[in-house]
């Protein structure tokens, strides 16, 4: 599902915004990237993530493995969030840096994150 506002315009939420909204911490990658969220995908099955055609996906996942990063790279995602403050391995952080994928750790559950992001999109629309 893409994050289009009611008038069809895309969101301007960047990864830096995501870090704030999800009480998160940037663990790898460029936190200043201007790329905006094109779609939110909340999924732990990487083969399923591959089915999404959208550009600039923000991937919300509980899979704290290199695979989440590699899959994100394949689909051109703009960032990966790992939930429940799951500890991230050094290799996952290294791969994220190597492939240039912003990686965020958030204490929130995926469900909470979905709701917060949506509220933020709505707030953006209203402003």
């Amino acid at each position: 599902m893409s994050c289009e506002g009611r008038d069809g315009k895309g969101t301007e939420m960047t990864i830096a915004d995501v870090v704030k909204i999800l009480d998160g911490k940037l663990m790898a990658g460029d936190g200043t990237s201007p790329r905006a969220v094109g779609a939110v995908v909340a999924n732990d099955l990487m083969s399923d993530v591959l089915l999404h055609d959208a550009d600039d996906i923000l991937l919300l996942t509980s899979l704290a493995s290199d695979q989440a990063i590699r899959t994100a790279h394949i689909v051109g995602a703009m960032g990966v969030v790992v939930h429940n403050a799951k500890p991230l391995s050094e290799t996952m952080i290294k791969v994220a840096n190597d492939l240039g994928i912003p990686l965020v750790s958030s204490p929130l559950s995926k469900y909470d994150a979905c709701v917060r992001l949506h509220d933020a999109f709505l707030a953006e629309e209203r402003s």
């Binding site: 099955l45 083969s47 399923d48 591959l50 290199d66 394949i74």
Partner: protein, 333 residues
Amino acid sequence: MGEYNPTILQGQHTNDDEILAKTPLDPKALGGDSSVIIMELLQRFKVRDVMKRQVISISRKATLREAQSIMRENRISGLPVSENGRLYGLVSVNDIIKGLDGGWMNDACEDHMATNLVVLEAGMPLAFALRYFNNYTYGRFPVLDSNRQLVGIISQRDVMRALLYELSVEIRKLERKTRGGQEQESQSKEHYFRKEWAVVRNDLSRAGHAANDIKSLLRERKIDRTVVRRVAVAAYELEINICIHSHGGVMVLLISDDTVTITAKDRGPGIPDIEWACRDGTSTANDWIRSLGFGAGMGLSNSKRVSDEFDIQSEVGKFTKVQCVFRIPKAEG
């Protein structure tokens, strides 16, 4: 036009160096009226595309005699002095000759190495790098990445070799265009680029690395974005398949003028019912595999779905080979 700072390891920056670093090669400097294609190649290709990545180096405290032996064994005429990726200097054949003459071959390299070095940045286009070759007499330059780590070494020969290869590719393309439309119908499947990656069974930490490489490579070559996405997805699916379902195998990438081909070949166990395997949702993955987020049974059907041509062959106990072909849309003009 990017800006590159001249990097001198020790010693003075001169004004000339600043200008050198910031001005790309003048087409006339190559002699006469240089073609647009050559200039485009020189701009497109970076030092990192052409440099030797296996840098043979020596530590500061090692002796000149050891340096001599390394240079002889490896048939190189310049040996960087580096430790932990940090570059300190360079020992050249001249330093060895002087050492033999002066009788100090047992001295440490650091006492005699050249330190007033010019180094190039990995991301620098060849158009800039060639200026250095033209203006300095050094035969080779060490290459540093953005973290000032030694990542390669580049000589004029490396540049010429790469340029000649790419030029022949461009000339072939031109020849085909001038021959007219009907030539393009005939199987112009001549692949000008091939790369292969080994995929190790159950090595989940690396699983997908070939697909990531393939995606980066195709993006660098500015191939159509939607094609790159589809190729990357198919490559990833097929690579994971090799990793979790087979005894191990290889991923091969082939690029021709109008197609990209991905081939995934493994050493077995083979697929008894190919039709079943290609269906959505059917998988032989066990619980362990599923617990890691794989095994949804979409691999083959996904790859088939995104490719323009899909072929799978398998023999139980022997091998499985999957080939996906993607057509590159013709660019205008």
